[in-house]
């Protein structure tokens, strides 16, 4: 989230799209309803009428996968009716930047597409720069190639008729949405967007969010109270686990993973450190070499020397152009290229797409370590229904895990607050925390290499690795320490002292820090700030519910990101009644500003979007692999045979794997005429392991269901409560029909399109509840992230003659 949970109450309008907040982040509705009580409109755009819709001002059903048409139509409406916040757009976004003349867009493709590589040459999307390398701007917004006019041109085609017939949303509903949210373009008004996996889980996932960000920039809604682009993160610590980057492609603190083409630290830094020649651009990532050096020193300690680039040379390097994420892990496992591995606290044979393929893939493993609370469909794959265990070779180590109250440590909430939990009871039985497990496992491996040697033992031997797991010690290391006596802003720190903030980190190996974003969370002066429970705040802070003394939030306890965009060039709040920061003439009051520089009008300021190289909010985003502006493409599986917006049917860069278990339905495939979307349900959690093993929750949502409209049920001869079979090109699942007015057939291109929805939390290890919904979904993903398209697939539904999976 750019903002945080409580801040939702400050909004004048709330758009919940790609999220079912009341069901999946139930406590968020405390703050949504507070805004609604004060008169904010709450609009829920979602294929299904849910508990969120029930408490919203208006629910707008759309066909899954058509968010870009609906939002693109809003861009057009805002530009056409002059609803954008002009000064904000000119001063704080890249609307005035001029794009070079090689850029173009034709019939669904941007300039530079290579069909063989299924990739773009992004150089063709670059900005025109002056002799210093600073982008040229036309603040009058008249230049035909300035971003503002390219934006206008891009969405000129997104007229009400085309948007309506593509998405199935009535023109009346579109206009209500556009007028209501467009009204937040006034400087003293703000609107927030709450989204979740309903946006990310598409082959246009990142572009959905890009378009939302573009809208918020046009309306001046970024950096302000009650505004922002707010990802409602799922999972208990998915914000923290992302910050610490348990992902193949980034190192902790969002730094690129080393590649084979960057053999030395100098190569890495040269390739990854942005350079801006604009003195007004803070270009914060110019500090990256300090953060990386401190991370490496954390990992390798005194064995990370200048000679070995602080250990950089020993690190694994990936091949450029190769993807190592979920879809490809399972594909390579299926092909026998992966032999063993670890699954901690996740149940991918339930929650990753195309379960049938993944289950067969895991059969190929020689060994598997699972750290879990319960038996799962992953740990117990070797005796799943329909297989003979005597034919499955996998050696499985199932390690009993401590539950949340059985360990101490910190998690990070969606608003980036780092919050500490204490151990309430010791782990039951022989359970151990996952921290203990990994510390012990690696120590075992290290001792083997000590005893026997082996292939390239250097990185293992040289790691600065603890003898036992200690969450407090790790929290300190994450914050960072000095390795030599250092003076910062007149204050002297001794070697071994905690660093006060990331400003003190150095690139010469004299500091350690496991994550620069968390630097400042556990200091010599303030102790472990994740434990702070102080509710005091100034009147200005209280007015918007900032709670700066409760826990600590990254970066530097800044509660609302890009908050210098909430003031005018003189530092005066654009919305004084809900000011985030204000310039007093001497300094800033309110939230922690994005850097303490004085207002821009003084000539000594810095542009507010400090994480961008040029300092501006990116309406035009030339860094994305699938286009600098969002464009509508049909889901990979679609009821249509033609994209109403262009000749390019799907996202030309979407990710896929291709083996015999990766079947896809053809566009408009008659065998699979119904759109399927998948989701969670309030009482269950993701793959369901923790919750369906908790009897009081299973009682409330006991079995797999499929929600469908009365119209579809009638067509198929299905009654409410009937068992049904759902089939896709990849597999089938059994579910109970929930026939409901909350699902709406939509009129798409003059034809009726039906949509059904299913949760994915039920699996065979819990008797009689049903089995993985993801047997229906496909190994296809977004070009930027590889996040699978769980939200829009094509299926058929028939009445089941006989129950197998749902037997009691």
């Amino acid at each position: 989230m750019t903002n945080h949970w409580i801040d939702i109450k400050n909004a004048d309008a709330i758009l919940i799209m790609g999220s079912n907040a009341a069901e999946h982040h139930p406590i968020s509705f405390k703050w949504v309803l507070k805004a609604k009580d004060k008169g904010a409109a709450v609009i829920h755009v979602d294929p299904k009428f849910s508990r969120t819709s029930a408490r919203s001002t208006l629910h707008i059903p759309l066909r899954s996968g058509t968010d870009i048409p609906v939002l693109g139509g809003m861009v057009r409406y805002i530009l056409e009716n002059g609803l954008f916040e002009k000064d904000y757009v000119v001063e704080y976004t890249n609307a005035a930047f001029i794009v070079n003349d090689k850029y173009g867009f034709n019939d669904g493709l941007f300039a530079g597409y290579d069909a063989d590589k299924r990739a773009y040459d992004k150089k063709l999307w670059a900005f025109e720069t002056d002799e210093k390398g600073i982008p040229k701007k036309d603040k009058t917004l008249k230049h035909p190639r300035c971003v503002f006019n390219l934006l206008k041109k891009q969405y000129d085609r997104y007229d009400l008729d085309t948007v309506s017939k593509t998405s199935g949303v009535s023109k009346e509903n579109l206009l209500t949405l556009y007028k209501t949210f467009g009204a937040t373009g006034k400087p003293d008004k703000s609107g927030t967007i709450m989204y979740a996996l309903g946006w990310t889980q598409h082959t246009v996932g990142v572009q959905n969010i890009r378009l939302a960000a573009i809208l918020q920039l046009l309306l001046g809604n970024i950096g302000v109270a009650g505004g922002g682009i707010n990802a409602l993160r799922g999972e208990p610590n998915v914000q923290g686990s992302t910050d610490h980057c348990l992902l193949w492609h980034i190192l902790p603190g969002y730094m690129a993973v080393p590649r084979a083409t960057w053999p030395t630290l100098a190569d890495y830094n040269k390739a990854n450190t942005p350079v801006s020649h604009d003195p007004m651009s803070a270009n914060w990532w110019q500090n990256k070499p300090k953060y990386l050096a401190s991370l490496l020193k954390g990992w390798f300690g005194e064995n990370g020397t200048k000679e070995n680039d602080f250990g950089y040379r020993m690190l694994p390097k990936v091949e450029p152009g190769v993807d190592y994420s979920y879809l490809y892990i399972f594909d390579r496992m299926y092909n026998g290229e992966i032999n063993g591995g670890f699954v901690f606290g996740t149940n991918p044979l339930q929650s990753a797409p195309n379960s049938n393929k993944n289950r067969a893939a895991v059969d190929q493993l020689d060994w598997l370590v699972v750290g879990e609370l319960h038996h799962t469909e992953t740990s117990d794959n070797w005796h799943r229904p329909g297989v003979n265990p005597n034919k499955i070779k996998t050696e499985v180590f199932l390690l009993p895990s401590a539950h949340r109250v059985e360990k101490s440590g910190s998690v990070t909430n969606s608003g980036r607050w780092i919050i500490w939990h204490d151990m309430a009871q010791k782990p039951i039985g022989q359970c151990r925390s996952m921290g203990e497990m990994i510390v012990d496992i690696l120590n075992q491996v290290r001792s083997l290499y000590e005893r026997e040697n082996g292939v390239y033992p250097d990185p293992l031997k040289k790691l600065d690795w603890p003898a036992y797991y200690d969450s407090d010690d790790m929290a300190q290391r994450i914050n960072g320490r000095f390795l030599k006596d250092t003076t910062v802003k007149g204050k002297t720190y001794k070697a071994g002292d905690q660093v006060p903030s990331f400003g003190a980190l150095a690139d010469d190996g004299s500091t350690v820090c496991f994550n620069w974003l968390y630097s400042g969370s556990y200091t010599k002066e303030g102790g472990n700030k994740a434990k702070r429970r102080d509710l005091n705040q100034t009147a200005m802070q209280k007015n918007i519910g900032l709670f700066p003394n409760y826990s600590w939030c990254w970066p530097v306890n800044r509660r609302i990101l890009y908050n210098r965009a909430s003031v005018d060039l003189k530092g005066k709040p654009l919305a004084p009644q809900k000011a985030v920061i204000k310039w007093t003439g001497k300094g800033w009051e309110g939230d922690v500003p994005d850097g303490g520089w004085p207002p821009l009008a003084t000539g000594k300021g810095r542009y507010p979007f400090i994480m961008r190289k040029h300092g501006f909010g990116q309406i035009f985003g030339p860094g994305r692999p699938d286009g600098p502006l969002p464009e509508h493409y049909e889901p990979v599986e679609s009821p249509l045979t033609k994209n109403p917006f262009s000749g390019q049917f799907n996202n030309p860069c979407f990710k896929k794997t291709s083996n015999e278990m990766d079947a896809l339905a053809k566009p408009g495939d008659k065998r699979f005429p119904i759109v399927l979307t998948t989701y969670c349900v309030t009482e269950m959690w993701c793959g369901g392991g923790e919750t369906r093993n908790t009897p009081n929750l299973l009682e409330a949502e006991p079995q797999l269901y499929v929600e469908m409209s009365h119209e579809l049920a009638k067509e198929k001869g299905i009654q409410n409560g009937d068992p049904v079979l759902i089939e896709s090109a990849r597999g089938s699942a059994e579910a109970i029909a929930m026939v409901t007015v909350r699902m709406t057939p939509l009129q798409i291109e003059g034809k009726t399109v039906h949509l059904v929805g299913m949760p994915f939390c039920y699996g065979w290890t819990t008797r009689g509840v049903g089995d993985s919904t993801n047997r229906l979904t496909a190994s296809i993903g977004d070009p930027n992230t590889g996040i699978p398209e769980y939200k829009a697939l094509m299926v058929n539904v028939t009445k089941a003659q006989r129950l197998r999976e749902l037997q009691a």
């Binding site: 610590n237 348990l246 990936v318 992966i338 070779k393 050696e395 909430n413 009871q425 039985g429 309030t682």
Partner: protein, 188 residues
């Protein structure tokens, strides 16, 4: 107003003084008896956090003799103010051992059953499997002769169930081994 401490939302205007438990004996009849034997008697409070969505609702765990006996929302957490949804409300029964794994379990190749093993046995065996696979699959240099120091034949999936401190170690663990097939719930 004391804004630093508002534990236990007080009932507005409630005129009943809370009775000391010593006065709630068995000899009390009627309604008093049905308020006696209070389950939180003699417990201490520990603050934990709900293990589900990223609202991060704080939970007061009532602990007696080292075991949790009750859980409820923590009113001091300004985001939730003591509220919980159905999942958060189920923290007590969720932690019970009757449905949880409590011992390390091992499944041998081609076997049709689990076997209980000690942690030491498991760690020893896991270490051996990791080392053998790593030694066999480690790539010092790629086809182009570039130094890559990685092992493609080992993967990890997980997890956002880990605390930040565990995540930081998990990342170090994986890069130290040379693993690059790394993913978790942030991508699904």
């Amino acid at each position: 107003m004391d804004v630093t401490r508002r534990r236990f939302l007080k009932i507005a205007g409630l005129g009943i003084a809370s009775l000391p438990l010593t006065r709630l004996g068995l000899n009390l009849g009627g309604a008093e008896a049905y308020a006696a034997g209070f389950k939180l008697e003699g417990t201490k409070e520990v603050i934990s956090i709900c293990p589900f969505c990223s609202v991060g609702c704080h939970i007061i765990v009532h602990v007696r003799n080292g075991r949790m006996v009750s859980t409820e929302g923590d009113p001091d957490y300004p985001v939730s103010e003591g509220a919980l949804c159905s999942k958060g409300a189920a923290m007590l029964s969720m932690h019970k051992e009757d449905h949880r794994l409590t011992k390390p379990l091992y499944r041998a190749p081609y076997s049709d059953h689990w076997e209980e093993k000690s942690w030491e046995w498991m760690l020893d065996r896991i270490g051996r499997r990791i080392k053998d696979t790593r030694d066999r699959g480690f790539i010092r240099r790629n086809d182009k002769g570039q130094e890559v120091n990685r092992v493609d034949s080992i993967f990890q999936l997980g997890t956002s169930q880990m605390d930040n401190e565990e995540c930081a170690l998990s990342h170090q663990f994986l890069r130290g081994l040379g693993v690059v097939h790394i993913d978790h719930q942030a991508r699904i």
